[in-house]
Symmetry: D2
Subunit: 309 residues, 4 copies
């Protein structure tokens, strides 16, 4: 599979990591999950992201998961691997290993200690130097990392570090940041890199209108992202909103920090994608009321989608 | 107007502070805003909250706004005043002044330096001792304050500080916290205090199902909160969700940190509630694209509401 | 008294705010404190800083303190007033009031919500525009504010905002930041502003060697800062270190976040400078062991100073 | 070597990780460093702490370092290994590996996302359950982790988790926390665990007076900690302070966040303990002025120590 590039678009699904109830990696579910995502129209996969419970995996487990997924995908779509780590040695080690195994690129979120513009830029400069020609995705997710990256810092990265080919955009609010990045490339000041959006997809139609190339997020109904992107690409913005609105109540519910992954895995298990909704410890648990909410929201969503069809 | 108590319910609208384009307080708009909120069914008003630009006001301006609103409200609904301050002397001074002027209670958010359970509890214990018998609302808003208040700390406050009569709940996720507080009072372990929910109302139906008594937030369509609460109180949970869903795309859009108040004021100005959408400096500005998004979302909302009527 | 300027040097003592045991402002101690600081060689005073318990004062109290001190100082040294506030309206109001009363300048620390370089610069740009020609001190104290200000942001402020005439430097570590600022003015790239150092004085000799103009801090023995600055200015760097080392064990002990002010006031009360060591609530209290430590450190310090004399 | 226990005392030196100028692990220096620490009187060693650049090592490198040091130490003193990690799987994996290799215990700092008392306690409860009977050191270092652990949370850990046998105390200020923990065990409410203190040793005499059992820190002159502990244990508190004061100016200088390790390694290289002062990237660099400061402080320290001998 070729490396990811500035032209990447569509929906890169942030994959969960399926575990058994006992906390072991569930290989069978890993395969069925890959099949499900591709079947729903994913144009790429992203492994070992924050919602992939990456920090709970040993180095060996992380690599094994990547290899299995790459085998199952078998070159049909590019696979990006999250390699964020507190230090550069483990970051580089995992990056080299996954690229050797056939991954198409890596994704890097800045460590939470960074504050000033120069500190943030220097971090990515060092990372890029270490990774050589491995293409990387800059993950801009202040709510999780605590690091606020201004548009000018991203533009400095784009200008100086050619291996940065994609932005995983999940600043909040971030619509005008997309606009600023697109304006800079429109004026010819920088390359135009790929921008895929996260945040559970809850701003997707507006993000596409500002110039995003698609989504990179893991909402339990990836068909939402796929269908919204398709309608938008076809020029039917109102249709994109109609579809989006049908899923929004559940997408909003899934986007609860610290509980969202439990909700996502619950739905994926209910849909038969993975065998168990279990997270590895430490992890909070859904209450009976949470599950009741999810049930209601799914029912309502199905009625809405039926009306739209 | 009597003081607020544990039995408070319904919709306390978080009022904006209207300014002229030059940054002066717009008294005429202050009156029309009060009229609008009461006309839409508010059961209370909350002044000088975070979304009321309280830190941008001088002490004299703050008091003048409170007095004018109290005059306009004229006892029809209770008025709560945000008095959060870095120190207790200005907090107590403002509290005494607004209660003398006829307010029904005050609201306190913890300063962002607090971390441990004991630090948080001690803060509210000192505040309550200083305020004497002034009833207060504990504002639990970790996204803005950085202070995480566990259910057990809130229960300790409720047990020991009788002047705490209400929780402004805007933890995220927070549904199970509401559940824990209600379970404690159901078991007779604590008083049952009023819980009104914030966060722009984007979890309102679920919060009501968990035992919240209503909303305290400032979404530019307060009729959403009023109608959802009414439908829910009437037992028609599906209708509450139908109404909620119609407003959700815009409510979600308004809930953008750092830009949300600009959106809210833009809509209120467009609705004729206030004369100018201006914020006092420092304040970011809506882009043309932002305004285009809002226009589209309002149009779509109106179509949805028409279909529901 | 003329305004402060880029040429300010020496020791601006950060004044405490003396309270009675009941929490009232102790006017008599305010006078004796001013006399003490001037008697020990202060070349300026700074009121209402973080260690002046500014957030615990009402607006009226703050102004009354400033006026009394200005009267007592009677033009002998410049007086700077801390005016940091969550919003610009109270910042401007207090600034105008104290300048009208005869203060020589104001000091501003950035609010803790700022992160990116542009956000920090924009804050000071707005502040400077609001303050007009009032000269201001930029307080750079990341440990307390959480805001990290890079040398390049300070240089941008110095280049563009002529009313910024002084840096209160208390980054940690910050020696190379002083070096970077001095190198820029030596190369003629910016004005050379005054740099006075905080952090309880525990890096004072090294800071002077890097180009600082003196100290702005409140260690309970201001004669330390005065004598170290004098020896250093006279070219006797070893003597400056000898004096510094004699005080360092106690200065280090005083520099405990959250307890340092209690220690400082305890010593000032013991020295007869203020009548009571009381802080306004909320405030932790010294333990018997803390007081024992202080007694021992003072005794040892006196022996060391006697040997140096 | 037996496991560490509640009775541990003396000086556990936080070891640096020596690198070559090219960033490879310097095995020869690792041996000479071990010899140096033991020769200076260390009663234990702690590897892979924050100042051991642990996050910059791959998993394989970490284990190799531990094995080499264990071989060199050859059972003469206990070796503790820092195993802090964002997730429990890598934490457990490294813990099992190093204990199998002969380590005497592990050290765990809480991840920076923890806030409430219950979250912090739950983290250590899960860690202890995963580690089984491996004895662990609770590292309490708020300045680096951002996590504030109250004395009551530590006491809850001590009461409920018998495998917690030691506290690495580096809260600041923390003297009264030591007092609170000792008072609790004196009253028979909890076990009395070992307390070794960090923070570069800059509060060591006072910490010993409050009941600490020694130091766990890496100041480039470990003889300071050893000699201060010995004098204090012999009842000569003034002598302990005399020794401490001689080293304090340099210890204070070394304790600069983000630059301290460069200073420490510079001195260790100068003393011939390690071949190169190099840190692995990313790392700031000492300026010429920094090195000048260090030279001066060492000279002054030597004169002071000579006078004391």
């Amino acid at each position: 599979m070729p490396h990811i590039s500035e032209t990447a678009s569509g929906v890169y699904v942030i994959a969960v990591t399926p575990f058994t109830d006992q906390g072991a990696i569930d290989s069978a579910s890993l395969d069925s999950m890959v099949d499900f995502y591709l079947d729903k129209g994913a144009t790429g996969l992203t492994l070992l992201g924050m919602m992939g419970e990456a920090p709970k995996l040993t180095a060996a487990e992380s690599l094994a998961i990547v290899k299995q997924v790459l085998g199952r995908v078998s070159g049909r779509v590019p696979v990006v691997v999250g390699v964020s780590a507190p230090g550069f040695a483990p970051l580089k080690e995992l990056s080299d290993q996954v690229m050797d195994a056939g991954a198409s690129g890596v994704m890097i979120a800045p460590p939470s200690s960074l504050r000033t513009d120069d500190q943030i830029y220097a971090y990515f400069e060092t990372a890029a130097a270490m990774l050589g020609d491995i293409p990387f995705v800059l993950q801009d997710y202040p709510l999780a990392t605590g690091v606020q990256i201004s548009a000018s810092v991203i533009l400095r990265v784009v200008r100086n570090l050619p291996s940065c080919v994609m932005l995983k955009h999940e600043d909040w609010p971030g619509l005008n940041k997309i606009g600023a990045l697109r304006a800079a490339s429109d004026r010819g000041e920088t390359r135009r890199i790929s921008i895929l959006c996260g945040n559970g997809g809850v701003f997707l139609p507006e993000e596409l209108s500002r110039g995003a190339d698609g989504a990179m997020t893991g909402f339990a109904y990836p068909e939402m992202m796929v269908d919204v992107c398709k309608a938008h690409a076809a020029g039917d913005v109102e249709r994109a909103h109609d579809l989006f609105d049908a899923y929004l109540p559940l997408a909003r519910y899934e986007l609860q920090p610290g509980l969202g992954l439990q909700i996502r895995k619950h739905i994926l298990a209910k849909r038969g994608v993975i065998a168990s909704a279990a997270l590895r410890a430490p992890a909070g648990r859904l209450s009976t009321s949470d599950i009741g909410d999810i049930e209601r929201l799914i029912e309502r969503q199905e009625r809405r989608l039926a009306a739209l069809a």
